[in-house]
Amino acid sequence: MLSAHAQRLITLALAGLVIAVITRRPEFAGVAAPAVLLLAVRRPERPARVGVTASPSGTKLTEGERAELTVTVAGNRGFSVDLLIHPRYAVVPETPDGELAMHGGRSALPFQVTRTGRRSLGVLEITLWDRWRLTEGHATVELPIVDCYPMPAAQRQRVVLSRLPSRLGEHPSRSSGEGLEFTGVREFVPGDRQRRINWPATTRRGRLQLNTFAAERTQNVVIIADASSDVGEPGSTPADLAFRGAAGAARAYLAVRDRVGVIVYQRSVRWVSPGLGARHFYRIMNLMLVEHAVVADRGRYSPFTRLPRAALPPGSLILVFSPLLDRRLVETVRDLRERGFSMLIIDVLNTEPSGSNDSLSGLARRIWRMEQEAIRFSLRELGIPLVSWDGQQSLDEPLAPYTRRAMVIRQ
């Protein structure tokens, strides 16, 4: 079709010529001459077929990870190409105005996805120009969808229970076994391995003494991510923080070969049973990815307070990432404590109700804060440790009191 530039040239040519005829002043025909000459070279032709390929460097990204979108245009046959990206929500292209520069029919655009979820990258607008800039053609291409996983929070230290199930792992337990951590010396009995004889102690006591070591055990960890409250600033809501914390904790425990399960708690409950390995980590991440998409869903609440037994192996350590705004979850946590599970709550509440500064709103906010404090106090009274995490710092900092020594289970 005619470009806007060509339409303006036509206007100039027609206006100049018409005024020249009406006023019988030939200089107006001269005004029209350059425009007429430029329009005369226009050929209304178009490329038969233009192929556009847009592919991101990866379809599975984490929040804030830098990726690259490569756009290839073929068959434009001498027409120059302008590319403009209209990004969708949470997609941030690293170009100020969304324009892509073409080099040899190819263009690369670095971008980031800033929030968890299944995200469409946006729409690519393609404009073709002939060499005289008189004919233009437009096309739009829907860009691919990428999966954006939550950015796992940093965690190096782990909370370990004092009583561990008898499965081989990497945590030193109280019972003696074949591990590496030295626990003491005892007298040799027939059947003991001779290579463990402690010769200095044997020389001192005159009887054969043996080194003993702690058995190394694994533990079951179940992480509950409470995504029922998606309030506050998008990108740092309690749900976002819960997913990031859960992802970080899952990665930290899977790294030491613990069995990790995840329960995503919102209007309904979905879970991944405890397992181990790198593939299991992606199973967990996929669960969070799918569940993040339905955080804003206005579905009906299911009135449950008990979590399924299949998701909770006996003797598990339960880490709860929650803002504790959902009464159902608070009741569920109480129920789990009464069932004898050892739990630790990581409070991710980072916002409070907004409102005007009048006395009534201030009073309502104070009551709300007191209610929140009461909920936390009642949970501490039940023997559930509770720490706060703001989403910025490492998880090691709030968990430090519980990672220095094994966490004792109080029944």
């Binding site: 079709m1 005619l2 470009s3 806007a4 530039h5 339409q7 303006r8 040239l9 036509i10 206007t11 100039l12 040519a13 027609l14 206006a15 100049g16 010529l17 018409v18 005024i19 020249a20 005829v21 009406i22 006023t23 019988r24 002043r25 030939p26 200089e27 107006f28 025909a29 001269g30 005004v31 029209a32 001459a33 350059p34 425009a35 007429v36 000459l37 430029l38 329009l39 005369a40 070279v41 226009r42 209304p44 120059s80 302008d82 209209h86 990004p87 105005d97 324009e99 404009t127 120009w129 060499r131 005289w132 800039r133």
Partner: protein, 180 residues
């Protein structure tokens, strides 16, 4: 880059309007054409400065913001530059100005159109390189026409011949547009 070309387009629009308005004539059609030319020049520059309409949905905007967006959309919708060209040429025709005056106005209008195109398409000046020879020839024709108009006229003068040629050219330009 876009800000610079938009600024250049604004300056050229101001030059065109001022040049065509000189010498000043009060009342009648000249006043009306001058008012239309000034308004359209301002709106055409505003249209370039506004750029493309934003991608985000307007559902969450308040009434004032929605009204501002509607006004901006209206400014983007209308071809202000085309109306300004017609108004400026009509204003120039109201004056008994010498042919070189009109010739310079034509050159300024052409420069304004190219500045508008560069600002609108966010392109660099280099994209006009293929058209440079044609622009040079066109400006040469413009100079020739202005020179011919400056010749003393008499019976069967060159001006009449040029008027006939202008009529033929107008029909030809219209013919080029109609198939599109």
């Amino acid at each position: 880059m876009t800000a610079r070309t938009t600024g250049a387009a604004g300056m050229l629009a101001a030059v065109c309007v001022a040049w065509s308005a000189l010498p000043l004539r009060h009342g009648g059609l000249a006043g009306m054409f001058l008012a239309v030319a000034i308004a359209c020049a301002l709106l055409s520059v505003a249209r370039l400065a506004l750029g493309r309409s934003p991608d985000e949905a307007s559902a969450y905007l308040n009434t004032v913001q929605q009204s501002a967006r509607s006004v901006a959309d209206l400014i983007r919708l209308c071809p202000w530059a085309e109306v300004m060209i017609v108004a400026v040429l009509a204003l120039e025709a109201q004056h008994p100005s010498p042919p070189w005056h009109t010739g310079l106005l034509g050159a300024a209008l052409l420069a304004y159109l190219f500045a508008c195109h560069l600002a609108e398409s966010r392109s660099r000046l280099a994209v006009l390189r293929p058209q440079a020879p044609l622009i040079a020839v066109g400006l040469g024709l413009l100079a020739l026409a202005a020179g011919a108009a400056a010749l003393p006229s008499g019976k069967g003068s060159a001006a009449d011949v040029l008027a006939v040629l202008a009529g033929v050219a107008a029909v030809a330009v219209a013919g080029m547009v109609i198939p599109v």
